[in-house]
Symmetry: C2
Subunit: 350 residues, 2 copies
């Protein structure tokens, strides 16, 4: 099955494209009324993730509305700890929680890499189904949370502002933290490779909470593990390269070190200009980003202006995938996403 | 009245000191049992801020326990919008809220600079009282929130993760946002000068939320207004310089531009190493920071190691004030603060 639109994959590999490809983080999400309908039908959020038919349906929804250059598997970043037995659930309006958080070496030693064919079969089944449904229209992105980001939720047990428990474990019991990150890194690598085997054509690792660490701790407890994962991923299948994107929210100057991880591309949030990100990474990797999602709450004029500023900031040459700097929020009017897509497609460099 | 310990002021002016001075952001706070006692006596948080005797008492508490080189006025960053009539209150466990948020140009045009002698008299009365009570032991820091940070709370009306309302106003109605920031900048300048007139010996502007903006928006909507404030502050009184510290949480590479604001010193959080901050600012300003507050949740060995790493990172030469990279959290054992103070005092450069 030939890929009809390979702009996204080409841009990630820093190859020329006819125009800048784009997709939108969390493009299958609550801002879409048709998503909310399926979500209501599924019951809770995890039931939606665990039903391959419904996960496939919501993955396809944004592609029916918008001319996007990639699809992304509909799933959650916390499927691995859930499969490890921690009991993921979502308290209404409170973000993810675990019934059984992991807070000491004894609990950490009991964790094992989940069986991808059993506990995480619903994910690879969804990947296969989506690939069939896409029928070569655009490539499919598989993804996982980073070991550090998974660890923050596993130790804290819920969302947190201070990250007190996970940082205490990291600083006071670094060996325990490394044991946790080690089993997570092995799990993430197997998980992403299983997604590739099922049909994922690009991979992205979401490190939502790496940016809260000091530079040294970031290197030791987040980036080193992502680097190790990148080294053990399937990077080619059926003669096609499988590009890997790393995204640390709030990475800032850390982008320079991230570019040495062996990945193909870096996600960039809006707190770093793409021009700066390009200087920091010296064109060693492609860049993905970085419009502030709040821009979509304004009006067409502002959206067009900010899109142009984003594309101008990247400048000439290949290697840019347009995206938001973080996920689209539920309060966005789907009509403004049409404006965004048209603005990116219609952009002419000054 | 002679100042018996001027290490803090000298370091802010990049003059040599016998050892690195230190204080702790939020040093008068909930981690101290004696603070919790006074707080319970006062009733709600704002009643404590608005009672000069009690504000003076809690300001003095950490100095009775620890050998610190500065006192900081006990108050809240949101006193100005409260004095503008927005009705500040604290919902239990939810952070600050305003009864009457400000969301359009009409509401913004009704805002006026508060009368410092009337609505904010409780602040300057507390400053005078604390100065008398300190009796020259250490200098007293006055402070305010930055215009941008005040604006985020005034527009959102409560804490937020996405800053949707304030960013929409900023991007879709920049003139309205500039009108709001203008009245806030004039208010902050008057407020800080009133604190100096009452006895404050150094000033700090807390820009808690500048780091969530893109570099261009940060410059236009946060730093430009802080720069304007710095230019209109009283910088000398009774032959003593009044140093000014700017602190943007998550400033990262923005520290370079901040150093051009005319301030004397920059607060640095733990996500930027002091060595990097020093390179970025080229020794044009002093630096204050930057231990991760979560370090205080560990143990004496880790605290001593991380303190040494922080002081080593700054390196030789004057111009460093040791501090945390953000406020101390309520879950810290006061005994660990003694360990911290001893570690900073006992530090010998390798």
């Amino acid at each position: 099955m030939t890929l009809k639109n390979d702009r996204f994959l080409r841009a990630l590999l820093r190859q020329p494209t006819d125009r800048t490809p784009m997709w939108i983080m969390r493009q299958a999400g609550r801002y879409l009324p048709e998503y909310r309908e399926v979500r209501a039908q599924a019951g809770d959020f995890m039931s939606l993730c665990q039903n391959p038919d419904l996960a496939c349906e919501v993955t396809m929804q944004p592609l029916r509305r918008y001319d996007l250059d990639a699809a992304i598997l509909f799933s959650d970043i916390l499927t691995i700890p859930d499969a490890m037995g921690l009991g993921l659930y979502f308290a209404e309006g409170e973000g993810p929680r675990f019934q059984r958080p992991v807070r000491d070496l004894t609990a950490i030693r009991q964790l094992a890499v989940p069986d991808m064919d059993q506990e995480l079969r619903y994910v690879t089944d969804a990947v296969s189904l989506i690939r069939r449904e896409l029928n070569g229209r655009v490539p499919l992105i598989g993804f996982s949370g980073s070991p550090w980001t998974l660890a923050t939720y596993m130790v804290e047990g819920s969302s947190t502002k201070t990250f007190a428990l996970v940082k205490r474990l990291m600083m006071a019991q670094p060996d325990a933290m490394h044991a946790l990150l080690d089993v997570l890194a092995r799990s993430v690598a197997e998980y992403l490779n299983a997604q590739v085997a099922a049909g994922a054509q690009a991979l992205m690792i979401f490190d939502t909470w790496g940016g809260i660490l000091s530079p040294l701790h970031y290197q030791q407890f987040s980036l080193d593990y992502m680097t190790r994962i990148v080294a053990s991923l399937t990077r080619e299948r059926d003669g096609q390269k499988i590009p890997v994107i790393l995204f640390t929210k709030g990475a800032g100057p850390r982008l320079a070190d991230m570019a040495d991880s062996g990945c193909d591309a870096l996600g960039v949030d809006w707190t770093t200009d793409l021009a700066t990100a390009r200087q920091l990474t010296g064109d060693r990797v492609a860049l993905q980003g970085n419009l502030d999602p709040a821009t979509l709450l304004t009006n067409p004029e502002v959206i067009r202006r900010e899109v142009a500023r984003t594309l101008d900031s990247y400048g000439d040459g290949p290697g840019h995938v347009f995206n938001l700097g973080h996920g689209i929020t539920p309060d966005v009017d789907p009509e403004m996403v049409s404006v965004l897509v048209d603005a990116v497609h219609g952009y002419k460099r000054q």
